[in-house]
Subunit: 388 residues, 2 copies
DNA sequence: ATCAATACTTGACGAAGGAAATTATTACGC
DNA sequence: GCGTAATAATTTCCTTCGTCAAGTATTGAT
């Protein structure tokens, strides 16, 4: 009996959750290999998988051909039925809403964005409602099979209550965003910090899959970091975690707005780069794009500013590697539009300061498309369905 | 039927493990409060506790008097039967073995130490055998109720296999210490890195009790850090974790033996302090004790060296707080013999660089007696009995 | 065709934990 | 003193999850 969209929890038993999560993150797997991987008997996997197949969340793939001598019955791998259910993800920035619809595998089906003229709560909610309608009622007909929305906001966000305690860019204080967005859209809403959302997405669907520990560094106006340790996202006891941008790497460096000195962000954040480029050229109207252009054109002074910034980021990443020893590290963010100017210096800074075997930690440095942030929000929404 | 020492696992079910661990770390608790705390029914706690009481590991305390209006039946708290079983813990350093016998509550009953003239494996094992005999056959008669030994070694240690991959001070490579020590002593052996052992002890029996996340910083020749995040010890994917001593805090600081620059350890480690003091005074034979004496006597130059060291340690601690946001941080180690010279500067460095609410993280700065390291080893041994 | 090998399914069973009733022990009002 | 309310612990019964062992399904090799 196929269950309607709108029914309660997807899985009821821990075993079913484990099975579904494993297939979701690691791709099609046979029942036997799932049993091995999860430490269950194959009978338990069979029983856990049955209701998921009946509900249409899992499907049985065609038997794969077997090799080797004395082959037996071919395995019929379990795979996610990607279009069983869809999810909306929206990243809220100070001047724009970026939205996507993804399927169960977190593949983006549609995307859209809307400019924001007013970052006030009411205006944002109005635009959010329109954006969601546009996404769900457009071509594709996703409305009927969508019941969840994930929102990503920078700042101090309580995921369990859906409360935005403080968001500096939006100037929001204690906004009960989950309730408000649920009223406006009629969907079940999850709210998460943007960096944490992106980290979650990368951990479940990206390069962090299978890693017991994992770090994602975002470079841009701010420099942040999402951490997964022992398989779980790090939240920080006092609401602070992953503040790689405020690690002090230079005792004699510039003062930072946080009160510290020589913070990575005060050297390599976009505003810091712009400030230094203006000082260097004496042109007070110079923008970050100008600086990038000059550096690419061979301006040595500006090039040195980017080099120092990349080096500082590398030192911050080395601090992460030395302290928590993640299995891999991904570096991304808007700031990486200037990817080519940063990369070698990020790597050299990291390699210089990484201790012992920590240098072996694989470092992926790659710009992510902007809508990836919205996909992160959607990934958190998927997670809220699978592992509430 | 009381079970003999030597029997298999202590607890068979997760619930029993949870009950025992909670009583062990949080002190006497009634069944009802345990049920609340662990999310179990009180019936489940009753059932889990019974065999532990029968085996003599738990005891029922006298009912406590109740207060408030309409009081009911008084609770009879469950407590650890501390002298049910004893554990040996030994810290192995390059020139000494420090050993203790602790009870189930990790309280030290006896301690002893033996100098080492030869840090070779065979010589250490011989001395270890003598030390354990001395501890167990001396007054107290612990031999009969002791079957486990914990060893703490600095360096790269694999706790699951009991293999010492590399220990720089001892110059050991790939020593199967668990098997060898078991042969010599006849006890069940657990081997752990010394800083991790101390962190575990502090997490289960010290200031870290109840904290979801927790950091222990050790100051001495090296500067290290044990981390507990999401309730579990951080191990590091590439064998590196907690290397707070090799975070770079000063781009223009001294080069470190690790290849980095401005490492905390290269500024604040005991050898770095001595080196700077010798340079400052021009006396090449000066020791760390001389330096401490001069600084306490008011020598401003030497005082400044300690001040800079404390500040660097504070910056390293701030990096930990900014990245993982532990609920609390304890600072200790041999280096804290010069406690008074470091403390205020550690605090000011931390407060200057801690981001936002991270400054609220409580910081305990206190010297630990040297045998505390051995107690850490014993605590790991207790843990291996309770949660294998 | 038969056999060995592998994948999956089924049904009986055992163990863990929950719900609710029962027993135990206290304070309080009368 | 004695019921009554309140809280703690236990007991009994029951559900549920997952394992075990036996059986079914599907392949390649002989």
């Amino acid at each position: 009996m196929a269950t309607e969209i709108g029914a309660g929890a997807l899985t009821e038993t821990p075993a079913a959750t484990a099975v579904f999560t494993a297939v979701l993150t690691e791709g099609p797997l046979s029942r036997v290999s799932l049993a091995h991987r999860l430490g269950l008997s194959s009978a338990a996997v069979t029983k856990a998988a049955r209701p998921l197949i009946e509900m249409g969340y899992l499907q049985e793939l065609a038997a794969t051909e077997r090799t080797g001598p004395g082959a037996g019955r071919p395995a019929s791998p379990l795979a996610i039925q990607a279009d069983r259910e869809f999810f909306v993800g929206v990243k809220i920035t100070g001047d724009e809403l970026i939205g996507v619809v993804v399927d169960l595998c977190a593949d983006v089906r549609v995307s859209a964005h809307r400019p924001l003229t007013d970052p006030g709560v009411e205006a944002v909610l109005t635009e959010l409602g329109r954006l969601v309608d546009e996404l769900l009622d457009g071509p594709g007909g996703y409305r009927a099979r969508t019941r969840r929305l994930g929102l990503a906001v920078s700042g101090d966000v309580d995921r369990t209550t859906g409360l935005v305690r403080y968001s500096p860019f939006l100037q929001w204080h204690n906004v009960p965003l989950r309730e408000r967005a649920a009223e406006v859209t009629g969907l079940t809403v999850t709210v998460e910090n943007d960096v944490k959302a992106l980290t979650t997405a990368e951990h479940w669907f990206g390069e962090g899959v299978g890693a017991e520990s994992f770090a994602l560094v975002t470079v841009g106006t701010g420099i942040g970091c999402g951490l997964v340790v022992n398989g779980r996202l790090v939240s920080g006891s006092h609401g602070v975690a992953g503040e790689i941008g405020h690690i002090g790497v230079d005792d004699t460096g510039p003062a930072c707005h946080c009160g510290g000195r020589g913070c990575v962000e005060a050297i390599a954040g976009t505003p810091a780069i712009v400030r230094q480029a203006r000082e260097s050229t004496g042109r007070p109207e110079l923008t970050i794009d100008d600086a990038v252009r000059l550096a690419r054109g061979g301006d040595e002074k500006i090039g040195a500013i980017f080099a120092r910034g990349g080096d500082a980021i590398g030192l911050g990443i080395a601090a992460v590697a030395n302290l928590v020893g993640p299995a891999r590290i991904v570096v991304s963010g808007e700031g990486l539009a200037a990817y080519d100017l940063f990369e070698t210096h990020i790597r050299s800074g990291f390699e210089r300061q990484a201790f012992g075997a920590a240098v072996e930690c694989p470092l992926s440095i790659r710009p992510l498309p902007f809508e990836e942030w919205a996909r992160g929000a959607a990934a958190v929404s998927i997670q809220s369905l699978v592992a509430p």
